[in-house]
Symmetry: C2
């Protein structure tokens, strides 16, 4: 896909100016970090940022009823903020070209603000976070600021297999006032930004998260596709986002299905010593599973330019293998339905969330019981290429995850029967749930942003304001 020319120019220019160089170092010697003797956990000396801890997980009745693992504990609620502004009737959003140490390609597109509470409270003593005042002022929803309107403001989880109860505040604020465009930032139309999801490793995870929290309204759902016939795929996406009837399941039934899963699921997570986790080895290289699968916790030293701080060390989680997240989708009377899974993860604040139809790292199942193999994985991997509507590898968050990449797939299928933990939902049902916290997982939000991009794929990109 061709990049908008302004973005292309800025990316080339920024890649010289903004970078991080990352060098692997032993976990034990990380500057500013220490091992807590009581728990074996790895903590920052400030008490801020995050820690790497051990947990034991018990899931009676699950194919893997017990396991232990390292997990990242980041109790602070960070901020992912996207500024939106209308230029000549076209909604634009302000994105940042941001380098993160875990990005395999350096710079990706981040939201206007992407900051942990430690960042914006300046625990590390760095420079202030640009544009924070639009989101994190004393009164972000002040009726006295009619030039700033909160479009979305909701706490959402992140990867429940890697983070213990991590939540970020996802905010979209629409402004009518003049906004200074600082170095490393640019306005893209919402259509352009969605279109860029088809570029490998470009739109970062936080941007995908906050894009998914946008109400499915005119911004994305408009356009000629809306009036196309029932056999037009893009039109079926638009209708699904608009909430055109019929949804297969009334919303009360969907809410009851989620409540039932959250009440029924037995999932117990208890702290364990990080240096005594069953089947994990903790040595010079970091913490790794004895099978070589899943992920390792590693140490890195980072040299950075164009960020708040010029250099630091930190632990990172380095997954082994490229992940797969996939939505099976089907058209019911011309309205796209998405096969959502209700999925429990040890790190979720509220037991279970709506997840992609398939979410896994296929290689991991070589060392797990056959019953653990995900439903529908073969439907996704064996799909006729003509049915694959979206297929792009995108990166996970480069501040915590090292070269973590996930192949995002949308595959059209006939209307399949639903196993108990699966339901066909419309995009409007997802949007309605996304106004509230902890219903839709990070992986599902990422795929929803990709899926919505298919509503506008056939359109010409709108112009960028000069």
């Amino acid at each position: 896909m061709r990049l908008p020319s302004e973005l292309d120019r800025l990316l080339r220019e920024a890649r010289g100016r903004v970078y991080t160089r990352t060098e692997r170092v032993p976990l034990a010697g990380l500057d500013g970090w220490h091992e807590d003797p009581a728990t074996g956990s790895i903590r920052h000396r400030s008490g801020g940022f995050f820690s790497v801890e051990g947990v034991g997980v018990r899931r009676p009745g699950h194919p893997v009823p017990h396991w232990e693992q390292p997990i990242i504990n980041q109790p602070e609620i960070g901020l992912l903020g996207l500024l939106v502004k209308d230029f000549g009737g076209v909604p634009h959003c302000l994105v940042q070209l941001k380098a993160e140490p875990g990005n395999r390609n350096g710079i990706q597109l981040s939201p206007t603000v992407q900051a942990t509470a430690s960042n914006y409270r300046r625990v590390h003593g760095g420079s202030p976070v640009p544009y924070l005042e639009y989101f994190a002022g004393a009164s972000p929803v002040s009726p006295a600021s009619p030039r700033r309107r909160v479009v979305a403001d909701v706490r959402q989880s992140e990867q429940g297999a890697w983070f213990l109860r991590k939540r970020n505040r996802n905010m979209v604020v629409e402004v009518t006032e003049e906004v200074e465009v600082r170095e490393g930032f640019l306005w893209l139309t919402l259509t352009e930004l969605h279109g860029l999801l088809a570029v490998e490793d470009l739109v970062n995870m936080d941007t995908r998260s906050v894009l998914a929290c946008l109400p499915s309204g005119p911004a994305v759902a408009a356009g000629p596709a809306a009036t196309a016939g029932p056999d037009d795929f893009a039109a079926s996406v638009v209708r699904s986002g608009r909430g055109d009837p019929p949804a297969l399941h009334p919303t009360e039934a969907v809410l009851s299905w989620i409540t039932d899963a959250r009440v029924r699921t037995e999932l117990e997570v208890r702290p364990r010593r990080l240096d005594e986790l069953a089947r994990w080895r903790y040595d010079e290289e970091g913490v790794s599973h004895d099978s070589g699968r899943f992920f390792s916790v590693i140490g890195v030293r980072v040299e950075a330019s164009g960020r708040e701080v010029n250099g630091w060390s930190q632990p990172m989680l380095a997954p082994h293998g490229t992940g797969i997240v996939a939505f099976l989708v089907t058209r019911v009377a011309g309205v796209l339905h998405v096969l959502a899974q209700v999925r429990a993860e040890p790190g979720y604040a509220d037991v279970a969330e709506l997840a992609p139809t398939v979410q896994c790292v296929p290689e991991n199942y070589d060392v797990l019981p056959p019953a653990a193999r995900p439903a529908f994985l073969d439907d996704v991997l064996g799909a006729d290429p003509a049915d694959v509507r979206f297929d792009t590898v995108l990166s996970e968050e480069g501040g915590r995850f090292y070269h973590a990449r996930t192949r995002h797939l949308v595959v059209e299928t006939p209307h399949l029967p639903e196993p108990p933990d699966f339901r066909w939902l419309t995009l409007r049902q997802f949007s309605d749930l996304l106004r509230h916290s902890h219903y839709v997982s990070m992986e599902a939000r990422s795929l929803l942003a990709c899926l919505r991009s298919l509503a506008v794929a056939a359109r010409e990109p709108d112009g960028v304001p000069s």
Copy 2:
């Protein structure tokens, strides 16, 4: 208020047959309970039911920035289920005449099912819970059972000052099939049941909770009041429930206000030994605050008839003083608005919930700093009687709380300015939030049920089916 004659007859009859006799006994000698040496907590030998534990609470910036207290930890999610059925076009619900050891008057009206998980899994070896099959079957939302429709199904918190992360599943199921009416149960119309909220200590807390989770739809909001003029109070309640414009605040702004409070509030709850809580005395009589205020934890021996089990012992929480919960309400262009408070409590699963305008036990403020005195308390206590729309003392849950009573007030005021933690909301905005977990507190749900009853207060009671 006159009781429906069938209810009056059943209550008289049941008071002879169903009862609990409660005798205070020392906490230390409770049959079936023991003190955990590691924590001082009081636990049941089965590991089920609940425990009484100690916590320390830190709230920087709050008038009481630190305190310690006993709290009830009941991690199991219980079920409050209400069966609803249409008889001749009139919606009815099946209530139970149920005696609880903490009820000062013995029998109150409970939902069709009111059961802890220990109850319905029969940890105590008692008889099966009647009507459970309508709610807690393997597949409560089976599309194969069109004769049973889930109307509401949501986990809600209970008193966050007394319970640590307690949640109950509130379910309303509408049936079209024949339902056997067992001894101690009867069908009341929804209008009758709402009307009975004006009777002291009759409609129990669990019934009020689940009634509040009913969608504000035709069931309660219908009737002649809907067509009355803008100066009719009942009509303003109906319009507010129906979601007639204008709501003072758009829903996005309300959601953002709640998100902001939950992100901003610093509230830390840590375990403490129950027998070493600062300012609490643990002796033969139980656990009590040295000021004599707040509440005590006491032990009781219960002799029961007409329940699953004939006798048992348990700890209970006995509050000192009658509580007050009050909504200030005002009419904006003929639509009732309710002044909701976003309120943090140590026991909430998600930091803060929407609470009544005023919620307190006034006597407690004799021993607290003056800054802790609740906003609007004087507006409520000093209200002109002509502005008081509802004023009834109702009981808190009699299974955990001993003679716990709360005066429920609805007071009409002019349109007052909103302090930061308060917003004027419509009943429809509350109903929309009540489809989701943990937005609306127990105390607010209880008052919402009372407030809705004012929409139908002017109507004649519907008939009861024979």
